[in-house]
């Protein structure tokens, strides 16, 4: 186990005692190993008031058409590179806006991960773990919600907008499950009660009364989950206006690009500003087995405009220093261009990027070989990546949650935090 985030930096005496007392009282009997874990740590991380926006490139964005171009090589493809505002690195011509914000980004060009297909890759790059039958690993969004979220907030702490994570909150509990908005970033229609407020309030009161009696007699987890879900839905009604970004969109439409993705990204900014700890924004269509170049040409410019606008907007509002913006998909794409003018799945060498929350800007970490076939220098595994992300968010990646009596660290055992990109 290796991390640059020692446990004593994240646990003070009060938290230790609190955790010990809870355990000693038997309140968390099955979680006996959690002496140093869970709520006390979450409270500590939460004090740092960090947020995270994940830009999820569903299907697997090509590293060759973004941050790891191989101009003049057989694997290079049809796009050309452009200079960036750091003066050193070069990026694809499809990203002129991000090129001018490279000073804010840490690009990892040496991702080397273990799941090559979509379901496995999506799970892996949302949890840091390969899917197993024995453990329901929580997604990054759920973890950030737990460790950085404001528990008493009426807002959900984990919001998804048109994205594809498939693991949910897993072992850390349903209270950290994602709340999904529709593809335009609006509240789903089912979130609104069809009853008048007084009637709805009376119904809640009656339900509470019934459930409280039931809960006294039955200590079962499903009962708690049921109450939790209803309570969250009821509390959401108090903050519906936070999701109404129509007027904001009119102001920022051009800045974010007049696209669905632009609106989603602006919504993410609004939600972070309102206090949501984790927002995942998806852009689908990167699985370009055919017509890879046209595919990326249709997707990347929209993303470039929206992502650049998001970074600027967060920065201008003073939010970027506490908001980690993660850019990634589940896989990269093959160096070889197939006979459909496409690139297939690839995980031996691909790219991700981070910005904000103390991540050093203007950094390109790692390197692939001349044709992008393998990592030449400084490989970063999924474990290393999640360890780094959690560390940037002030969450100890060694923190453990429990699947029964089995301790599960947030980032897999053996990971190495990429210290070079953290301030």
């Amino acid at each position: 186990m290796n991390s640059n985030c020692p446990i004593n930096e994240h646990l003070n005496r009060r938290s230790l005692l609190k955790s010990s007392l809870v355990t000693a009282s038997g309140a968390s009997l099955m979680n006996w190993g959690g002496l140093f874990s869970s709520d006390a740590h979450a409270a500590e991380a939460g004090k740092k008031n960090k947020h995270c926006i994940l830009i999820w490139l569903n299907g697997g964005c090509s590293q060759f058409e973004t941050f790891d171009m191989k101009i003049g090589r057989p694997t290079g493809g049809l796009f050309r590179d452009i200079s960036t505002n750091t003066g050193e690195s070069r990026v694809c011509e499809l990203m002129p806006n991000i090129a001018q914000r490279m000073d804010k980004l840490a690009v990892i060009r040496s991702m080397k991960t273990s799941q090559i297909d979509h379901p496995g890759g999506i799970y892996l790059m949302h949890t840091g773990y390969q899917e197993t039958a024995a453990v329901r690993f929580p997604e990054i969004g759920a973890i950030v919600a737990k460790y950085c979220g404001e528990k008493k907030s009426d807002l959900p702490n984990f919001v998804k907008i048109s994205s594809n994570g498939n693991a949910g909150a897993g072992i850390i509990g349903p209270q950290y499950s994602p709340f999904s908005l529709d593809k335009d970033g609006r509240l789903p229609t089912f979130s609104e009660s069809y009853l008048a407020t007084p009637i709805e309030t009376r119904r809640h009161g009656l339900r509470d009364f019934m459930e409280e009696r039931y809960a006294k007699a039955h200590k079962a987890e499903p009962a708690r989950m049921h109450r939790e879900s209803y309570d969250r839905a009821r509390r959401l009604q108090n903050v519906r206006q936070a999701f109404d970004v129509d007027s904001e969109w009119e102001k920022y439409r051009d800045r974010y690009g007049n696209s669905k993705l632009g609106r989603r990204l602006m919504t993410a900014r609004c939600l972070v500003e309102a206090g949501v700890s984790f927002v995942e924004v998806g852009q689908s269509g990167y699985d370009t087995h055919a017509d890879n170049f046209e595919g990326h040409k249709s997707l990347v410019p929209t993303m470039d405009i929206g992502w650049a606008a998001l970074l600027d907007d967060l920065s201008e509002r003073g939010l970027l220093q506490d908001t980690l913006v993660v850019w990634m998909g589940e896989i990269g794409r093959t160096p070889r261009i197939n006979n459909r003018s496409g690139r297939d799945h690839y995980v031996r060498s691909w790219s991700t990027a981070l910005a904000g929350a103390g991540v050093k800007g203007g950094i390109v970490y790692g390197e692939s070989d001349k044709d992008g076939i393998d990592v030449k220098d400084k490989p970063v595994t999924e474990g290393d990546f999640f360890g780094t992300v959690y560390t940037a968010l002030g969450i100890n990646p060694l923190e453990e949650n429990y699947a029964g009596v089995r301790p599960i660290p947030l980032a897999p055992f053996g990971h190495t935090v990429v210290k070079e990109i953290l301030a």
Binding site: L261, A290, G295, K297, S298, R340
Partner: protein
């Protein structure tokens, strides 16, 4: 054009990135081909093909000239009737005009037959293998372009010429269409479509007065923009004269012609992943357009230019069409696609009367990208993404 027992007589090696385009240069024995790495070569073929070095494979020949200038993929080649001028469009955002007989400016050595060398060297001794693989390549004369037409700011994927060779039309990925006067090299008209929509095909009527432009957005990412268009324009004024999609989908209300699911379903059947090739018939009454991108059928629509109605849908290339041509008498339409064949169909009844080539590859076949018909209509050539240029004699 007559076709009787067509024979595959040349298989020219063009190793590297994909050959995309081919054009005969005033003769059935002189042709040019361009590729996706920006190279253009010219071949002078002997009257009678020599015996092939490989069994069941037509003979190869080395190019004699290389046209040097493009810095990214060549998308189309068009030769004037006299064969002296070649026009190329490119992903490097330029159109170049070449005097193919101009005095050479240099020389170079090229190896375009690496896969064939590797096949021939199989099971040879080490010495023989080395001799084959390391043998000198072809020596080619190099020339630069005569003119460069600049005005596009993104990939140029559409190029067409009027029958009299006086006007050229080009379209790019900023949805800019330009009509050029080829004598003055100046723009006659230009117009823009929607943002984030690409011009995927363009053609000029024989008299150069009417333009067809096909547009397509690779991804439906905007709120208010219809993702595909097929329109006729006044090429002189740059004014739209007929919205073909409105003719083809008469029940759709104008206000619904945005990025809606319902409209997407309607145009999707007609345009599939966009119309990627277009050509007017020699008499200008018909327009042939082909469904491209990776799509099931890759059909060719024959459109009545006056009414805008689809008169007939012919042929079909599994996984998408790439290029289309009419015979000089307008009786036949030839198309190529992602199924490694050229299909020849009768315009009158849509009957397919011949295919050139045969499917190659696994689940997804190699593409025949661009096609060309020789001036005497005795030969047809195709650019094959497997690094080859094929020539068929139509009557053997």
């Amino acid at each position: 054009m007559e076709i009787s027992k067509p024979a595959h007589i040349w298989q020219l090696s063009f190793d590297g990135d994909w050959p995309t385009s081919v054009a005969f240069l005033g003769s059935s024995r002189k042709l040019a081909a361009g590729s996706r790495d920006g190279r253009i070569f010219v071949w002078d073929l002997p009257e009678s093909p020599p015996e092939s070095q490989e069994k069941d494979t037509p003979p190869d020949a080395a190019p004699v000239r290389q046209l040097v200038g493009h810095e990214n993929g060549v998308t189309h080649l068009i030769a004037t009737d006299d064969g002296k001028t070649l026009i190329s469009s490119s992903l490097d955002r330029t159109i170049r005009i070449w005097d193919v007989n101009a005095e050479a400016t240099g020389k170079g050595d090229v190896i375009l037959d690496k896969p064939a060398r590797e096949r021939l060297s199989n099971r040879k001794s080490a010495a023989e293998k080395a001799a084959i693989l390391e043998a000198p390549g072809a020596t080619v004369e190099t020339i630069g372009s005569q003119h460069t037409l600049e005005g596009h700011k993104d990939w140029i994927k559409a190029l067409g010429i009027s029958a009299d060779g006086r006007r050229l039309i080009s379209g790019d990925d900023t949805c800019l269409t330009i009509v050029w006067n080829l004598q003055t090299k100046k723009q006659i008209a230009s117009w823009h479509g929607y943002q984030r929509v690409w011009v995927t095909s363009a053609a000029l009527s024989p008299d150069g007065k009417t333009a067809f432009v096909g547009e397509f957005a690779g991804r439906r990412s905007s709120f208010d923009v219809p993702a595909a268009q097929a329109r006729l324009w006044d090429a002189q004024k740059g004014q739209m004269t007929l919205d073909l999609l409105k003719v083809w989908t008469p029940t759709v209300k104008d206000e619904d012609r945005v990025d809606s699911y319902g409209y997407g379903q309607a145009w999707g059947k007609l345009l599939s992943r966009g119309l990627v090739c277009a050509r007017f018939s020699p008499d200008g009454t018909l327009l042939a357009v082909g469904q491209g991108g990776e799509t099931d059928k890759g059909q060719i629509h024959l459109v009545n230019v006056e009414s805008g109605k689809i008169e007939r849908t012919v042929s079909g290339h599994q996984s998408g069409a790439c290029d289309v041509r009419f015979s000089a008498d307008g009786r036949l339409v030839l198309s190529s696609g992602r199924d490694t064949v050229i299909r020849v169909c009768q315009v009158a009844d849509g009957k397919e009367i011949a295919t050139l080539g045969k499917a190659r590859g696994g689940q997804f076949k190699d593409w025949f990208y661009g096609i060309a018909i020789s001036p005497d209509e005795q030969f047809v050539a195709a650019a094959d993404i497997a690094g080859l240029v094929h020539v068929w004699q139509l009557n053997s």
